[in-house]
Symmetry: C2
């Protein structure tokens, strides 16, 4: 017997928009997916308790350790945007009343600060001008003054194109008994970063930047020290979905957060949420491609593309917003994966962007916050970090600037 229903058709859409333009995505992300990665997205679905899926998970975790350059056992993908991975760090590593230092010199370092406030931290916010980075003295002063249990910073600041100097920072934090949390969303896979050598305790990235992977899945890693801090919390993590020990119960139940040991045989995996298999397939493929290329070669490819971009800009009368600086990988300076380009006086930044988009289907982005109208943001990330794209962009940009004067 069919039942009769009083269904409203008010919002029943009968056709869908399908003529999406094909863009070259040279903004701060998402970047274009590599065709191999794109193909993996539509691999057939499998259950989240399937032994075959477990193997995919384990392999993905192992590849992420290579990507992060870490031996951390707790190295998993978060089901959500890079901001969810950021929140996973903040939620798990902060207890109400904890002293925290937030180093803020851009849009995303400020986001960490805003989040940390919601988790009840007692925060010392160290502000620096957008477009600069923090020195060892800055960090030492904050550690001495505030005695934090956590210090947060952004390694590759998408809003300014700045790479944070990392040399010595982790060691300094260790000496002050402070965990170090670093955002590498716009950098990891494109710019040298060493979680273990640099003594970083919590680190994360997004799928859609230097990995040429999809947005919606975000690798994260916690050091044994960070895991022990979590295991010894006096209060529950104020976020169920991002609770690291619950996530670990599914991804790596063999790992003991309290003492860092690994149980054999592996205990049963405990269900937490249905992980996005399609995104996991794609993330795995994107990191596999880095494993194949060799991550030092991937870094050098990003560097080469960025340097060609700098030269190209000069050739058409433009220049990066940031001064040319020391390019040593653990020193501060320009971020090779994301370049802020100075908008010449009197030019409408938006007009140029619109020209590139409308005439050539090339997307670059404008400035955020303090830098709105002052810079364009050009990303050469992952698959997109190549000489062909630089050649095209410089040529199109020259025309766009002329047409917009």
């Amino acid at each position: 017997m069919k039942q009769m229903f009083n269904v409203s058709n008010a919002h029943r859409v009968k056709s869908s928009i399908s003529n999406l333009p094909v863009r070259l995505l040279l903004g701060p992300g998402p970047s274009n997916l590599h065709p191999r990665v794109n193909q993996q997205l539509s691999t057939h679905m499998i259950g989240y308790t399937d032994q075959n899926y477990y193997k995919v998970m384990d392999e993905t975790m192992e590849m992420m350790r290579y990507l992060f350059q870490t031996n951390n056992h707790f190295t998993i993908p978060i089901t959500g945007a890079g901001t969810a991975a950021m929140e996973a760090c903040v939620a798990n590593l902060i207890e109400p009343g904890d002293n925290v230092v937030c180093c803020v010199s851009g849009y995303f370092s400020d986001r960490i600060y805003q989040m940390a406030q919601r988790y009840g931290a007692n925060i010392l916010k160290v502000d620096r001008k957008w477009g600069t980075w923090f020195s060892l003295d800055d960090v030492r002063d904050a550690l001495v003054k505030h005695k934090p249990s956590l210090l947060t910073m952004v390694f590759g600041e998408t809003s300014t194109g700045v790479k944070q100097a990392m040399a010595g920072i982790g060691q300094l934090c260790k000496e002050h008994n402070c965990l170090l949390m670093v955002d590498t969303v716009a950098a990891l896979g494109g710019v040298p970063f060493f979680v273990d050598d640099w003594k970083v305790d919590a680190c994360y990235t997004g799928g859609q930047k230097c990995l040429s992977g999809p947005p919606g899945i975000s690798p994260i890693t916690f050091s044994p020290l960070a895991c022990a801090k979590i295991a010894n919390r006096k209060t529950p993590v104020a976020n169920w979905y991002l609770d690291a020990m619950l996530l670990g119960g599914y991804w790596c139940p063999e790992y003991n957060f309290a003492n860092g040991t690994v149980t054999t045989p592996q205990p049963l995996r405990r269900y937490h949420h249905t992980t996005p298999a399609n995104l996991v397939y794609a993330l795995r493929e994107s990191i596999l491609m880095i494993c194949e290329e060799g991550i030092e070669n991937t870094w050098n490819r990003h560097q080469d593309a960025a340097k060609s971009l700098y030269k190209g800009l000069e050739s058409i009368g433009l220049k990066p917003y940031l001064a040319d600086t020391n390019e040593v990988f653990d020193q501060g300076g320009r971020l090779f994966s994301l370049t802020t380009v100075a908008v010449p006086d009197g030019l409408d930044a938006k007009l140029v962007m619109k020209y590139l988009l409308d005439k050539y289907n090339i997307e670059i982005a404008g400035g955020l916050g303090e830098l709105a109208g002052k810079v364009w943001r050009v990303g050469l990330m992952g698959f997109n970090a190549n000489q062909t794209n630089v050649k095209l962009l410089i040529s199109a940009l020259e025309e766009a600037v002329k047409a917009s004067k």
Copy 2:
């Protein structure tokens, strides 16, 4: 000049597992994606500030209103699992010290209860035996006794196969000035549900159940009353990533949470996080297919498949775990999209599941919590809710049960 790096190759994986079996997913989800949906996953990427993407977003939101049978303006997809959507409701609608009633009679209603505790609610937990649902009297008693600002329940409980009776519940909550939050993860799109007619204030589902869509994206809707409660909070939402007003600033900046009005022209969208375009494409396609079929026909298809399953089970000496009950759509009873099947005494439930998986690549699930070992869980959801799958399952199940005795 190339720099030299001290790269560790300890975790460098050089090949990846690619021979995933092709499963028929007849458990509690994920279900198989429809080929049209699967194809959409690998549609080319587009930027999150692209006008063309905004059109896709708007269309997806409009379709979701049809799916939820609501006029709620705030109807968006959460970037995360169904559990993230659950947490979005809890985080936004609860302030510390709020009185909350949690109706618990299964695994997922208990999860809501656990989450609500973390947000500092003063909770009255109303427990009922797993496999039952709540009566109007149960709800009235709790409302009178606890005077809550929020009452939570699960409409389609994946762990027990129970459909909660909805007739009169929303009205009762309104009379007691209480918001009603309902989980429809295992039901929406497969079983009649009416957000507006049933006066539900917060409702969510997952992509991977009755929508045949991908996991990792989860539709959610808030009534104007729920939005006003959020706008009038005294404390910030304790979760930055899932903060509804920040999410609204990107998805629907024209909506005023405080008074439910809509501004024309639409204000600029404010960036919150990079939404997963591939998942949005796929979600849109999955709901478009329901728009095409007509949702009442989709519901009836699920009902027909379930009834064939009941008959088929009987024909091989098995039966649903729940007694045959009133099948009127707003009364409690069996959930058509997910059936718990009683495991005959003396039979090893896992052996049967293993047989189906190994010999026929058919996945069904076992019981959770109180029902572990006592039931199998069979999902006929979305694309998978058809007579062909029932025919196959019954035939294979008959053989599997015989072989496992």
